[in-house]
Amino acid sequence: MPSSNFILLTILGSGLVTWLSRIMPFVILKKFRLSAKVVEFLSFVPVSIMSVLWFENLFIQHLGHLPSLNMPNLLASLPTVLSAVISKNLLVIVVVGVISLGFLRLVVGM
């Protein structure tokens, strides 16, 4: 590991760029209104970003080649989706997901 000073500066630097990414839209949009076109575009952010954050975890990246399947995550997703449809309760969904992957890891040994 590099020196503590180097690590601290790196943390501060990444913290600053991340914080600015988070707050700048709030600061700018305090003064300006978004055009209808942009609002329409942004209306697709929730469904898009939630799908990506799921699907990214179903593949294992091999840059330059087709991805392989992340079998444990793919298999654990099935009961999780089913529990979503049946329960519509986020807490139940998360618990079913964790138990499903835990079962695959500890019992099946994947």
């Binding site: 990414s21 593949f59 969904i93 997901g97």
Partner: protein, 235 residues
């Protein structure tokens, strides 16, 4: 989810997310300890950088002795999706003061964003400072605590992967996506389904040539554009 925008409804609604934060936070702390960072530094990174995936990336780049500027650039790229989420959220808080906007904005996460986009389906598309700040604050504290505990446990556990806890956040996104599909009446159900299908195809193809730290942002932008085009063509 209910229509109340209070501290108590926020505390209840953040609960499923807390499991995810504990799981990933512990894993992050353990990985950090295993890579040779001390618990103080590990917790400071959670408090200052505060971005799940980016913190794992920073640790691996520090261990590889990468130049500072490339570590910071990677953190920026992987967190740049925050710009998109904050831009989507900001109009809900335009009437709040600038200071409150900065406080809320500074602690936005994937999870608090997803939760609030779900919440507006129950509140006639309204959010307020109290509700969102409570969600953000609990998430922030739990994340930092879990990181610290993980760092302290790091001496005893070497492979945090094997308990299935790191699936908690994936499960949460599955749940929030499903609830979004069935409850968001502002976009037609079939159109949303087409966007989900597009995202799956785009993920499979993009993952071949787009580095992991840019993947989320690029696919989200493509999917939003796809949604707009299809909406105007067929809906």
């Amino acid at each position: 989810m209910d229509s109340e925008l209070t501290v108590s409804s926020a505390s209840k609604e953040i609960l499923p997310t807390v499991f995810g934060y504990i799981g990933i936070g512990l894993a992050y702390g353990i990985v950090g300890k295993a890579s040779g960072l001390n618990p103080l530094i590990i917790t400071l990174m959670s408090l200052i950088t505060y971005g799940g995936a980016s913190q794992f990336i920073i640790i691996s780049m520090l261990a590889a002795h990468s130049p500072m500027i490339s570590i910071i650039l990677s953190a920026f790229l992987v967190n740049s999706r925050m710009i998109l989420m904050s831009t989507t959220l900001a109009p809900y808080f335009q009437k709040e003061s600038l200071l409150k906007n900065i406080i809320l904005g500074g602690l936005v996460t994937d999870e608090s964003f997803a939760l609030s986009m779900n919440k507006v389906n129950y509140t006639e598309r309204k959010l307020n400072f109290t509700w969102f700040n409570t969600v953000n604050f609990i998430a922030y504290v739990v994340w930092a605590m879990a990181s610290l505990v993980g760092a302290l446990l790091g001496n005893f556990i070497s492979n945090p992967d094997k308990f299935g806890l790191n699936f908690a956040l994936v499960a949460m996104f599955i749940g929030l996506l499903y609830l979004q599909l069935v409850s968001d009446k502002s976009i037609k159900f079939n159109l949303q389904l087409l966007v989900v299908g597009f995202v799956l195809a785009a993920t499979f193809i993009s993952i071949i040539f787009i580095p992991a730290n840019l993947l989320t942002l690029v696919i989200t932008l493509l999917a939003c554009e796809f949604g707009v085009v299809i909406k105007h063509a067929f809906f």
